[in-house]
């Protein structure tokens, strides 16, 4: 097969990117980039609040989306030249569009806001009766429906946005993670002018649009998806280079071209069975570049993403959103689908970083406002269910701190690299346990909400595109997600099994970061007095 089998595209414009240089765009891509909802991504910072610690980290989802498209294209072209990804004549354009649109459903402050919205939606879906003909397997005596679930059941049943989300991604519905930004993308694309742009291009029909949505959400089949969702995907490649460049922390740099040059697709053989790989692997000549890439990821995460001050800000913002969500001051997944159902695209347009900051300014300047009824009806049913999780005073104090960049006070921090299977937990792990927190707060005489803990347990060689700090337990660390190398005799091996690879020595290790924060020096002193005498 020759390079002539790579789908030819007509590029009509170039955008200069500070990471990749000129990025060429086709007409349909240009039209999408010019759409209001894509421009919205300019106002969603890629790294949330990290600019409070790394002032250069002001890049956004707009830059990143272009970069992912550019890298995905390089990957597709390489694979098509090697006779992969050639089933459909338009595969290259479809993958480019999926890459370009992969973050179109992102929440303000990137993952910081996404985590509480997803958590809330999952909890509430869990309380709904399952669809007709379905049964959720539950233990006898477990709670089933709860207050407010009737309203949510009615809303989702009549929502065309949610129905679309449900129908398109059936393989992942059981996880109830409907509010994931990659699933929100399906709603944003299909319920806005972006769909018209795609159809008007004359290059695709509704089914190809659905394919784009499925590639983005991870419910598609085949190698197309691995370009966007795998250990070797364009998303990770771009964020690492971009975050490194923007923060000025050079540890994130790696040899992208060498990895892409040696990309391969291999089906497992019966002698090399493996049920859990995407099929995407790297030829042996690219092995060192892959090792360097994994180490670069580790250093970027441990230095930048998990920087202790920024973790404190992250937790404050997340808790503020939770508190506002239960009072109906900010939208939940259910409010968002209603916005799309009613065609109020402009309201979604404004759901960006500025929305978050403006909300904080409003409640900080007029604290009594928080006691009033919020305008998001679906969110406010949460408050009706019981007591608020976060007090008004706490929300207002955290809001002021976020606005003025006043960090939390660090009480204790411990970092250690340990064996994954080791039963030895961190010296601080016992301070994160519910009953221990109750006791410490009681003895230190501080409100429980000001005893703020953060627990990160991160594999060194397997880092996802972004591991939300609040959702760390759900991150899956498995051998099956590891990168495979194609040997010179065309057989494959897991990189973590290669005795000549540095990764082998790190594969069974994890970085533990346990942190405790509080409000101020006085609280810190009181907590320290208690925990210094607390039994492990």
């Amino acid at each position: 097969m020759s390079s002539a089998d790579v789908q030819d595209l007509e590029f009509v414009k170039n955008i200069f990117d500070n990471v990749h240089g000129f990025i060429p765009l086709t007409q349909v891509e240009c039209d999408i980039v010019n759409h209001d909802l894509f421009q919205r991504l300019r106002n969603i910072k890629q790294l949330g609040l990290l600019e409070y610690v790394f002032p250069g980290a002001i890049h956004n989802r707009f830059n990143h989306s272009l970069g992912v498209m550019h890298i995905a294209d390089k990957m597709v072209v390489t694979l098509q030249k090697k006779e992969h990804l050639i089933e459909s004549s338009d595969t290259r354009q479809i993958i480019r569009l999926a890459a370009l649109l992969h973050d179109i459903g992102h929440y303000p402050l990137s993952h910081i806001i996404e985590v509480p919205v997803r958590k809330d939606a999952k909890t509430r879906f869990h309380q709904l009766p399952p669809p007709k003909g379905h049964l959720e397997v539950k233990i006898l005596g477990e709670e089933t429906e709860s207050e407010g679930s009737e309203q949510i059941a009615t809303l989702t049943a009549r929502s065309s946005g949610h129905t679309l989300n449900h129908q398109l991604h059936q393989s992942i519905n059981d996880s109830l993670d409907y509010a994931h930004h990659e699933r929100m993308a399906s709603i944003v694309i299909n319920k806005s002018g972006i769909k018209d742009i795609l159809l008007d291009s004359g290059e695709m029909d509704q089914e190809r649009i659905n394919d784009i949505c499925r590639i983005i959400a991870g419910s598609h089949s085949g190698l197309e998806m691995a370009i966007i969702h795998s250990e070797l995907d364009a998303d990770r490649f771009d964020y690492l280079l971009r975050d490194s460049k923007q923060t000025g922390v050079i540890y994130g740099l790696f040899d992208l071209d060498q990895i892409i040059r040696h990309l391969e697709y291999l089906e497992p053989t019966t002698s090399d069975p493996d049920e859990g790989t995407s099929g995407l692997c790297v030829g042996y000549k690219g092995q060192k570049a892959v090792e360097d890439y994994l180490l670069a990821r580790y250093f970027l995460y441990s230095t930048v993403i998990y920087q202790k001050t920024s973790i404190g800000f992250h937790h404050m913002a997340s808790m503020v959103y939770e508190g506002l969500l239960e009072r109906g001051f900010v939208p939940s997944y259910f409010d968002l689908i209603e916005i799309f159902d009613k065609g109020h695209i402009g309201r979604y347009m404004n759901f960006d970083d500025s929305f978050f900051w403006e909300t904080l300014k409003t409640i900080s300047s007029d604290p009594e406002k928080i006691e009033e009824e919020g305008k998001y009806q679906c969110s406010s049913t949460l408050g009706a269910i019981g007591e608020y999780q976060h007090s008004s005073d706490f929300i207002i104090e955290c809001s002021k701190r976020l606005l003025m960049r006043r960090p939390l006070k660090l009480v204790k921090e411990e970092q250690a690299i340990v064996q994954k299977s080791s039963s030895t937990s961190s010296g601080l792990a016992h301070l994160h346990y519910g009953p221990a927190i109750e006791t410490i707060c009681r003895e230190a005489d501080i409100p429980k909400e000001w005893y703020i803990t953060s627990k990160i347990e991160q594999d060194i060689t397997e880092l996802s595109p972004f591991v939300p700090l609040d959702d760390i337990d759900s991150y899956i660390r498995l051998r099956s997600d590891s990168i495979k190398i194609k040997r010179s005799d065309s057989s494959t091996k897991f990189l973590i099994h290669d005795p000549a690879s540095i990764v082998q020595f790190l594969a069974d290790k994890q970085l533990n970061i346990f942190t405790v924060y509080t409000k101020d020096v006085d609280y810190k002193k009181r907590i320290c007095e208690v925990i210094n005498n607390y039994p492990n």
Binding site: H134, V137, I139, L140, S219, E275, G279, H430, Y433
Partner: protein, 173 residues
């Protein structure tokens, strides 16, 4: 320190999973065998597609629908047999209906419940049907063989594909 922090019921999902696998006729979990791992993955996929939700999302990997969280839970059970034993004794809500649905799956699969390759083909066809506009068996089979050319070497692959196609409606596909 209170003992319950080590013993808290963090194995809820694993216990429910054990119960369902046991109802499917599996007496213990052995994750050392590739065939077993494949079988567990595909059986749970079939169970969920029969309308019994266990909460596992599935994505497409080289062997068809695959759920990393399920693998994690299975390894957890494999590591600690007590989870499986205690799961087996669990009482479920709507247990009669659950047992009935699982018996239907067992009847439908017959001896193929032990055939991991058949389970892979069936689960893959269900996934492809539910994630595309392809509705007829011929185009589903064509897509499957394009994604998994290895299957062309399987003896009587046509018979296997046809048999699996006939079962699709039973799994909502």
């Amino acid at each position: 320190m209170d003992e319950s922090w080590e013993e808290a019921d963090e194995y809820r999902d694993e216990k429910i999973l054990s119960k369902i696998l046991n109802l499917l006729g599996i007496e213990s979990i052995d994750m050392d065998s590739f065939d077993n791992r494949l079988k567990y993955q595909k059986l749970i996929y079939l169970v969920q597609n029969s309308g019994l939700s266990l909460g596992y999302g599935y994505n497409w990997y080289v062997r068809g629908p695959y759920s990393p969280p399920l693998t994690q839970d299975l390894f957890e059970i494999d590591k600690n047999n007590q989870i499986f034993e205690s799961g087996k004794r669990l009482d479920l809500q709507n247990e009669q209906e659950i047992v009935k649905r699982i018996e239907t799956i067992k009847d439908l699969l017959g001896k193929n419940i032990e055939n991991s390759e058949f389970l892979e083909v069936l689960a893959s066809l269900i996934y492809l049907k539910k994630s595309s506009a392809r509705s007829d068996c011929a185009s589903l089979q064509k897509r499957l063989l394009a994604l998994k050319p290895r299957l062309n070497q399987t003896s009587d692959i046509e018979g296997m594909l046809d048999k699996a196609c006939k079962m699709l409606p039973s799994f909502g596909a």
